[in-house]
């Protein structure tokens, strides 16, 4: 590991919240490009440990590897998160389409989603992400760090892809997921 990657590892180790790349640049006095490279190196090295390097956009954080969740949960005495299938559907729309408005989610699911939005907000799985510059300026929603953590993802790029439609006959295999999830809009 380069000294810069080690320095960043040390900083992320003590950080309780995500650290932005800009902050890392400032702290280490390095160039953004060098920090980017060091983060890549750190991410690769972490694969060999019980930790993972997670990021959401430009914010970075060391998290525990999902494989060892049961041990960490046993140590922390953490409860397992349970969500209804309705809440999961709403969460799926927000996660893959973010930022999304409530109306968009309701249009896709064909039902009122007040309850599921309430549940997801309360569990801090989704959060407000400003407003869409459209009539009525509807609130935009996106997923949170808690979402990534709860689902053991190190970034939104890791969202599972659906390659088959569930039990829809012989022509089941269909590349529905051609492109990855859309990147969050810059606000």
């Amino acid at each position: 590991m380069t000294p810069l990657a080690r320095a960043i590892q040390a900083v992320l180790f003590v950080a309780e919240k995500p650290v932005s790349r800009g902050e890392l640049v400032k702290i280490t006095g390095s160039t953004p490009r060098a920090v980017e490279a060091a983060l890549g190196e750190l991410g690769a090295v972490a694969e060999d440990t019980g930790l993972r390097l997670a990021h959401e956009g430009d914010d970075w954080q060391l998290i525990t590897a999902p494989e060892y969740a049961s041990y960490v949960a046993a140590y922390l005495g953490a409860d397992r998160l349970r969500l209804s299938s309705a809440a999961l559907e709403t969460l799926a729309v927000v996660a893959y389409k973010q930022p999304a408005t409530r109306a968009e989610v309701e249009a896709i699911r064909g039902v009122n989603c007040d309850q599921t939005f309430y549940t997801l907000m309360q569990r801090r799985l989704i959060e407000e992400r400003g407003r869409r510059e459209a009539p009525g300026r509807p609130i935009l929603y996106g997923t949170t760090w808690e979402f990534l953590e709860c689902f053991g993802l190190t970034s939104l790029d890791e969202l599972p892809r659906v390659l088959t439609l569930p039990e829809t006959g012989e022509a089941g295999l269909r590349p529905v997921e051609a492109a990855g999830p859309t990147r969050p809009e810059q606000l």
């Binding site: 180790f13 003590v14 950080a15 309780e16 993972r52 997670a54 060391l62 998290i63 525990t64 999902p66 494989e67 969740a69 049961s70 960490v72 949960a73 922390l76 397992r80 998160l81 349970r82 969500l83 299938s85 309705a86 999961l88 559907e89 969460l91 799926a92 729309v93 996660a95 893959y96 896709i108 699911r109 064909g110 039902v111 007040d114 309850q115 309430y118 907000m121 407000e128 609130i139 760090w145 990534l148 953590e149 709860c150 689902f151 053991g152 993802l153 969202l159 599972p160 659906v162 088959t164 439609l165 569930p166 039990e167 829809t168 006959g169 012989e170 022509a171 269909r174 529905v176 997921e177």
Partner: protein, 238 residues
């Protein structure tokens, strides 16, 4: 934005018309891409009839889809039927099929997310308070000096070993004494106030008296370094 919890509506196991429609497609092992949605009209209506208990606005959503299915069925039975000119785009079979496909994708994604959740392979991050940095001046030499003072104190004869008359101190009395001293000298040190061999009770009363004077803004208190000497200074104008 989190208001009171809205009532949850889900009767007969179906949350909405799309879910019911998708369920019908899956039950019959049909393909969303090729199924003639009009063929589902009868099955759909049969299910909707069983949903009589739903609140009116929920029923409306089911009925909107039902009417569309019936229209599609009618068209397939009477191919010569011309589309109504002002018919909006939303009523076409392809639009409904697209919605159904999109919903099926969401369901697939939701079930994958649900699998991940059930597998319990989640991540955790560090939690806890901010790292407590030592107070300024907390260097080892200050600690060593303080320890030396403690050792010197310990070397003295213990209070209980001394045969002394029972002490009685009053904070009020001590406060008056210190106030008089401060009026005379502009600055004093805590050590001076304690005297040569203070007893614990005397030290405590003296300290409380100082705090009281400080509270009344009669004096100012300074301590330059950790465990260092405390300087008592008369407050200007008092």
């Amino acid at each position: 934005m989190i208001g009171p919890e809205p009532p949850r509506v889900s009767i007969e196991g179906f949350e909405g018309p799309l879910e019911l429609l998708l369920e019908l497609v899956e039950e019959r092992k049909l393909d969303i891409l090729t199924v003639r949605l009009g063929d589902l009209a009868d099955g759909y209506l049969a299910r909707v009839r069983a949903l009589a208990e739903l609140p009116a606005e929920e029923v409306a959503a089911f009925l909107a889809v039902a009417s569309r299915l019936v229209l599609l069925k009618a068209r397939s039975l009477l191919p010569s039927l011309e589309p109504v000119a002002e018919e909006d785009e939303g009523a076409s079979e392809e639009e409904l099929r697209a919605r159904l496909l999109e919903y099926a994708t969401v369901r697939g994604r939701a079930s994958l997310l649900g699998d991940r959740l059930r597998a319990g392979e989640r991540a955790f991050h560090r939690e806890g308070g901010t790292v407590e940095l030592p107070p300024r001046g907390g260097d080892t030499s200050a600690l060593a000096a303080a320890w030396a003072k403690v050792l010197a104190l310990a070397a003295r004869p213990k209070e209980e070993d001394l045969v002394a008359p029972a002490e009685r101190y009053s904070v009020e009395q001590r406060t008056e004494e210190i106030e008089a001293l401060v009026a005379e000298h502009e600055t004093l040190s805590f050590a001076t106030l304690l005297g040569e061999r203070p007893t614990l009770g005397y030290a405590i009363v003296t300290f409380i008296a100082l705090l009281d004077l400080y509270r009344r803004i009669v004096i100012d208190i300074d301590q330059d370094e950790l465990f260092g000497e405390i300087t008592i200074r008369r407050k200007a104008g008092s």
